[in-house]
Symmetry: C2
């Protein structure tokens, strides 16, 4: 049996960052990572291997290099069980590893719907974070022209857009009334939908798929209204489920929703075991309700907290709940959202106002490369707290949504935001007099003032 | 005599935002703006009229439309004097205006150095915020091929780069050791300098100009070492001085540095008179020392505070000092800085560490349009406060530097930043595991931990 101080299971974003952060903070401890995958994919890059980046070899996390540079040992093998009483992890091939601290970063697996007839046919694909599977899928898709994607969350939307770019005919089917309907309000999801349509993707919302039909191979999908859509391949983008089988078998607490239960320091109830990333339970920042958010960025924040708190608690590093921050791009237009949408806030019972402003992300707006920049803020009417924000515009909104994330996380009230100092430049941002984030804050503030 | 509730002098960023904010918050008050300029230029856009936006007509602030939309009256005339005892402003042509509240947003004028022989020759230009002057200058520059710019602050650098783009031969002369040497540390200013040189601009730093020579017209400049550089035109980009003549004559307090003295609510000592923007005194956020920062974005933040506080003080809207946030771009590379540079922090006596990280602003880095993204944070060693940040990278750094600005302004400590939740996306940002802002925070934090 090998002995280590810290064993991390998983080498994707969560595992990688937990191990490297831990080693940075506790350089004298021996760290080891166990992973099934010799090459770990950058998870959010997966849709882009079907178009823009062309090949999964261009989408590899530099885990190996980082582990080596940080003197972290790696075991390439499958974990078969965890014995938490004896603090030992067992492997398929390698000898067991004894640990002092164990970090579970086992990620998630695509949901394969048991209710969907035909889901096992050939050319019906999931989108797992698995290079071997995806390489084979990509090879098979070469001979497929008509693709149906089921599920218009981020992965479904992104992969559809990429396959369209690669020259395929794509139909995207979503049972909710809007694409990205869980992430965005209708103001933004409507725009995403319009852009996808303009790019030639056929979109069917508000309708369910009843079955995938075909003999051996998928030949099309049957909708609940009896309509048939022919297809050479079908992609199931119906979300992901946490990988918690090993943890459950080991007697580690699992939540009702199927995630590993953790405290604010990412500790399970076993003081020697932490869990981070997709397999760990998340709670909403504003309601403390469990939320099934799976984001590499959230995983990294959690992994940093776990890594720092492995051997001592640094009180200020509590994880104060998940502010889901999503962003994506279609062509040269970016879309982002942080915190609560207007719909979610109202559903949860918050008394809110919204402030909206649409400006231009260069000034003067006649500059080349100028895009509209739209900002919506969701603000607590009595508290003045910013509960959420959503944006679209040029690609710089990827950073702008993080400004809003920082504002939410640090409970900066609307009145402070209103007079915040921001920097502007003709070639980089909107004008100082028309900076959409500040103007949206003004719009929200006016409503609070005049409705009290 | 005309009577108004609020009179704003100036229609550039400061005046425009003071008037429109004031009207939003006090819709029942009568607002009036007095301006000399029928067309106000977007100030930070001025360098770009010489290249990218081609013509000053493409760089006009939409003040007229905004005043009309907000029911704000405008007087196009020159103010001749202010009688603060009788609360009356006198004009060259128009009849006097009586006010209840007066907001001074009179801006600044380029410094014309009395020590520089030949500064009055033809084809020696300043860069005033004056459309008539700039149109004439642009016309004259058409026949000039060899341009010398004296002063490598933002205006000097930007105008040189634009004139080079427009096909001119440009020599940029700076007496400090580095271009943009007041705004950036050597790590970034060195890179700016290298980029400008690669674009064919001849840069001479660490040397002063003794005189501009020529008969009637500038024919070149003589350096302090005796060297001559031939030129068809010379541009003096030596900074700006606040326009405070009228205020001084009216008996309004002026600081030793020549700015109108204001309190945290942008009020002068006369309770009926406010001052905002370039003509108003600014104090550094960290030291409270007066600083000669002139930025449209700062002016707008001040103007919002003045506008909101015209008739009642909303305590939370105090102006807590100026965090200078500068950004600029050369080609597709953006540069930004917020708060204190490393040099300034050390000069001021702060006990600091710095954290630096260079990553890539897309992930995987093989995606098209990926740029390096460099972040440096200056952190108080004992306090953990973030005193400053500087960045360069793709054009999204224009928004990223504002995230850093918000972090500084809200005193978010390094430990909170370290585990901040950020959103990432392959086409929009760096990877979650290698997000430069967080990695720079880690680098700073490690130094604090291991040096205590």
């Amino acid at each position: 049996m090998i002995q280590t101080d810290v064993l991390v299971i998983g080498s994707s974003a969560a595992g990688l960052v937990a191990a490297t952060t831990g080693k940075r903070v506790y350089p004298d401890k021996k760290f080891m990572v166990a992973t099934m995958m010799p090459k770990t994919l950058i998870p959010c890059g997966i849709p882009y291997i079907f178009g823009t980046v062309r090949n999964s070899n261009n989408d590899i996390l530099p885990s190996d290099t980082m582990f080596e540079a940080n003197h972290i040992d790696v075991i390439y093998d499958t974990v078969t069980s965890i014995d938490k009483n004896n603090r030992t992890v067992y492997f398929k091939g390698e000898e067991p590893v004894g640990y002092d601290k164990l970090v579970l970063g086992m990620g998630s697996t695509p949901v394969k719907p048991s209710w969907l007839k035909g889901a096992d046919l050939d050319n019906v694909f999931l989108v797992p974070k698995n290079k071997v599977y995806l390489d084979e899928m990509q090879e098979k898709l070469k001979t497929c022209n008509r693709i149906v994607t089921i599920g218009a969350g981020f992965i479904g939307v992104e992969i559809s857009d990429e396959l369209k770019k690669a020259g395929k005919e794509v139909v995207l089917i979503e049972k909710l009334p809007n694409v990205l309907g869980l992430a965005f309000d209708q103001d933004i999801s409507g725009r995403v939908q319009q852009m996808l349509a303009e790019r030639g993707i056929v979109i069917r919302t508000g309708i369910s798929v009843k079955e995938v039909y075909g003999r051996r191979k998928a030949e099309g999908v049957l909708l609940e209204n009896g309509e048939e859509i022919e297809a050479d391949a079908v992609i199931l983008a119906l979300g992901y489920a946490p990988n918690t089988g090993l943890a459950a078998k080991a007697g580690i607490n699992i939540s009702d929703q199927g995630f590993i239960k953790v405290d604010d320091y990412m500790r399970t109830r076993d003081p020697h075991i932490f869990a981070v990333g997709d397999c760990a339970e998340k709670r909403d920042y504003f309601t403390r309700k469990p939320v099934p958010i799976m984001l590499a960025s959230t995983a990294c924040a959690e992994a940093r907290i776990a890594g720092m708190n492995l051997y001592k608690l640094c009180a200020i590093k509590t994880f104060i709940g998940t502010i889901s921050i999503f962003s994506t791009a279609i062509g040269n237009t970016g879309f982002g959202v942080a915190g609560l949408t207007e719909n979610r806030a109202i559903e949860e019972g918050f008394d809110i106002v919204t402030g909206i402003f649409e400006g231009i992300d260069r000034h003067p707006g006649t500059l080349p490369d100028a895009h509209k920049q739209y900002v919506k803020l969701v603000v607590g009417k009595e508290s003045g707290f910013i509960l959420g924000g959503a944006v679209y515009g040029g690609l710089s909104i990827g950073e702008l949504i993080n400004t809003i994330g920082i504002i939410i996380e640090n409970k900066i009230a609307i009145n402070s935001l209103l007079t915040s100092q921001i920097g502007t430049h003709p070639l980089l941002t909107a004008s100082p007099a028309g900076y959409p984030l500040i103007k949206a804050a003004e719009a929200a503030s006016s409503q609070i003032m005049f409705t009290h």
